[in-house]
């Protein structure tokens, strides 16, 4: 892997609709989709027509972006990735029927393997799991993990319960066993309002609130003791915005000093735990405009190891080809582009 120029850790393949997935469904669920007229599963986390969901110049004549391997040309040819990790954002996590969710997750993952991974050796993917039932989720990890092109387990920033909760720990045991990081991507299963103050009026509030969802998940994972129980586990925060992290850790660590008797298994500062176990993808980097100030906020992370390169293609996070935000220190770029991803995704090294 020494010739790798960049690993793009967040690329979104678009499911064109049921016609693509139904060949991968069991007969029962294929019939159900047809007979019940089950609609497609696009989530309001990324309204299909919204400017943020796909940059205008990434959309094809049918308005879809990233609908096929050929559409990923910017990721590889323009921005120089040699490996890209696919994170499908299709509303599997929103489904209420846990059996249906498991069937749809299997179909989605198999579609990814056949229609994407088989067609381009540069592609890797995350395993979408039906967290509606943790046993189903573990089954799906076990089913797909032997295929080493699946390099991560994909969850959403907002779900039914905080991700540290003990009932979910079999998931982390499976992920750790298979050397799969847990990727937490922006988005909600809409089991709860996207803010602690209820439902907002606008989509822009929903998207902005994702950064708060990530804070809640990190607080939960650390406070519940997930990293004490699973010391080899890595968590990647994908499309999180990044810059909320330092001040969040200052607050969290201060409270930990005052309240640590409540969570005795948190036996060192949450800031240290996060730097050891948590990684963040680069785009979007919610920074100030001035490159010198971007450099300051990067410095506030106090680690050269936590950022992983991502384009977030086809989401509209940057204009032109400015995939690397201005202000990233030159000495850090190689780590972000290559070293940190390879250290985080153990499976990338073996292929």
């Amino acid at each position: 892997m020494r010739d790798v120029r960049a690993v793009d850790c967040d690329v979104h393949p678009t499911v064109p609709g049921w016609a693509a997935l139904t060949p991968y469904l069991d007969p029962f669920w294929r019939d159900s989709v047809e007979e019940r007229g089950i609609g497609t599963l696009e989530s309001i986390s990324y309204p299909p027509g919204a400017p943020l969901t796909a940059r205008a110049d990434f959309r094809g004549a049918d308005t879809l972006a990233a609908a096929s391997v050929a559409d990923l040309e910017p990721v590889f040819d323009r921005w120089g990735a040699d490996i890209a990790i696919l994170n499908p954002l299709y509303g599997i996590q929103l489904v209420f029927n846990e059996d249906m969710a498991a069937a749809f997750a299997r179909a989605l993952n198999d579609w990814i393997a056949k229609e994407w991974l088989d067609r381009d050796p540069r592609l890797r993917a995350s395993i979408v799991v039906p967290l509606q039932n943790v046993e189903h989720a573990v089954d799906e990890i076990e089913r797909r993990a032997p295929d080493r092109r699946f390099v991560q387990v994909l969850l959403l920033a907002m779900g039914e319960v905080p991700l540290g909760r003990r009932a979910l720990w079999p998931l982390y045991a499976a992920a750790e066993r298979h050397q799969l990081p847990i990727g937490i991507h922006a988005g909600s299963a809409y089991r709860n309002p996207v803010t602690a103050l209820g439902w907002p009026s606008y989509y822009i509030e929903d998207y902005a609130a994702q950064a708060q969802g990530f804070q809640s998940q990190v607080a939960s994972l650390v406070s519940e003791g997930v990293f004490a129980k699973f010391p080899a586990l890595k968590v990647v925060l994908i499309e999180s915005g990044v810059t909320w992290l330092p001040a969040f850790l200052w607050r969290f660590a201060k409270f930990w000093r005052g309240i640590r008797t409540e969570v005795p298994w948190v036996d060192r500062s949450p800031a240290e735990i996060v730097r050891d176990h948590v990684r963040l993808t680069l785009q979007p980097l919610d920074g100030p405009d001035a490159p010198a100030e971007v450099e300051r906020i990067i410095e506030h992370l106090r680690s050269d190891d936590v950022l992983l390169y991502s384009s977030d293609f086809p989401h509209w996070q940057f204009d032109g080809d400015a995939v690397m935000p201005a202000g990233i220190p030159p000495g850090l770029k190689r780590k972000i582009l290559v070293d940190n991803p390879l250290k985080t995704y153990n499976r990338l090294n073996a292929v």
């Binding site: 602690a196 804070q215 939960s220 200052w250 607050r251 409540e262």
Partner: protein, 366 residues
């Protein structure tokens, strides 16, 4: 060696003029009895407080100390921390040379009560009690107008009832409301505040009825505490995106006990998102961070503690040293001591701004 270094620093720190923007006075229900009608007193005896959580006589997340208070803040003569004005004067106001203290009553205030009429009665009782028991006996202590915010018309009426008395220095709300504070149902509160030239202080806590996180209920008090910052981020987002600051150009919001380190990153995120999605919110005429810069003040406690203190000062610079107010949170366990709470590497002008000048302007202290 340590002693030699610390003494000059300590000398530089003592006797700042301090305006403390977050002091918690405590009334028991019995203290409020004179200000409640028989109807509401009887209601309280029969049905008790019914906030948007399940515990009749307790909190969903047990605090780290009894009533979340400093163990040395219990008055030697009896009663609850924050209930004895003489003890508060000696332990806090005189000890630290507090010039003014803004009182923010937390409970039992009826804020967020399920029964809106009871909420209004409790708010009024708290406002009268603050004046009689505290401000009337210690002029450095200023009162906040507790409002029954879930009924904005009643809240507006309560503001109008109190605003003529300049010892009430702000309208007082909590952060966890049943809808985000930008929603139009709350606008009559802002209208009344602006009409009477009062800032709106929004203190963390309260029970919205929604889970404390967007991913459900957490397990621990430490999470409840960190989540106050996320709730505050959501309420600032809501106030900006709903256009509150376009409608009320004079509105001043003081965020209390939410910390402040998160504010610059929120502004950057909202600006980025607005560039992409501005056609959804055409009523905004400026970048979100500009509304933050113009309409928001933050208070210090619980002061974030950066591993590298210079990083915290950079964040304070991004917010603006004219926008940060000192708050101690007396008598709670996470109290910030005025003598040592601010980063030691602030210059004299920055310290003066935070300790008193900014508060004088926003609360219009003489």
């Amino acid at each position: 060696m340590n002693v030699e270094l610390r003494q000059p620093l300590a000398a530089a720190r003592v006797k700042p003029t301090v305006i403390d923007c977050d002091i918690h006075p405590t009334a028991t229900l019995a203290d409020l009895r004179p200000y409640l009608s028989n109807r509401w007193w009887d209601y309280l005896q029969t049905y008790g407080e019914r906030r948007r959580h399940g515990f009749a006589r307790s909190y969903p997340y047990p605090k780290v100390t009894p009533r979340a208070c400093r163990r040395d803040a219990w008055p030697p003569g009896g009663g609850l921390p924050g209930s004895d004005v003489d003890f508060m004067r000696a332990q806090h106001l005189d000890h630290y040379g507090i010039e003014y203290g803004v009182m923010n009553p937390l409970s039992p205030t009826g804020q967020g009560e399920q029964n809106p009429e009871f909420s209004a009665a409790m708010a009024a009782a708290n406002n009268e009690w603050q004046m009689a028991a505290m401000t009337g006996r210690e002029p450095r202590l200023k009162s906040s107008i507790v409002v029954p915010y879930e009924d904005a018309q009643a809240a507006s009426a309560e503001i109008k009832r109190r605003a003529g008395n300049r010892d009430y220095v702000q309208v007082f709300m909590l952060s966890r409301t049943s809808e985000a504070l930008g929603r139009r149902r709350y606008w009559p509160i802002y209208e009344a505040a602006v009409e009477h030239g009062l800032p709106v202080g929004i203190h963390v806590f309260g029970y919205s009825g929604w889970p404390t996180t967007a991913t459900g209920w957490p397990s621990f008090y430490i999470e409840e505490m960190t989540e106050h910052a996320t709730s505050s981020q959501a309420l600032v987002t809501s106030m900006i995106m709903e256009g509150v600051f376009e409608r009320y150009r004079e509105l001043k919001i003081v965020l209390i006990e939410s910390g402040f380190g998160w504010l610059p990153a929120l502004g950057w995120r909202l600006d980025r998102n607005w560039k992409r999605l501005k056609d959804e919110v055409p009523h905004l005429r400026r970048a979100p961070s500009e509304y933050i810069r113009e309409h928001l003040w933050v208070s210090t406690q619980p002061m974030e503690e950066a591993e590298d203190p210079d990083h915290l000062i950079e964040v304070m610079n991004w917010i603006g040293f004219d926008r940060i107010l000192f708050a101690s949170d007396y008598p709670h366990w996470d109290f910030d001591d005025p003598f040592v709470a601010l980063p030691p590497n602030l210059d004299a002008e920055q310290r003066r701004a935070i300790f008193s000048e900014n508060a004088k302007r926003v609360y219009r202290f003489a």
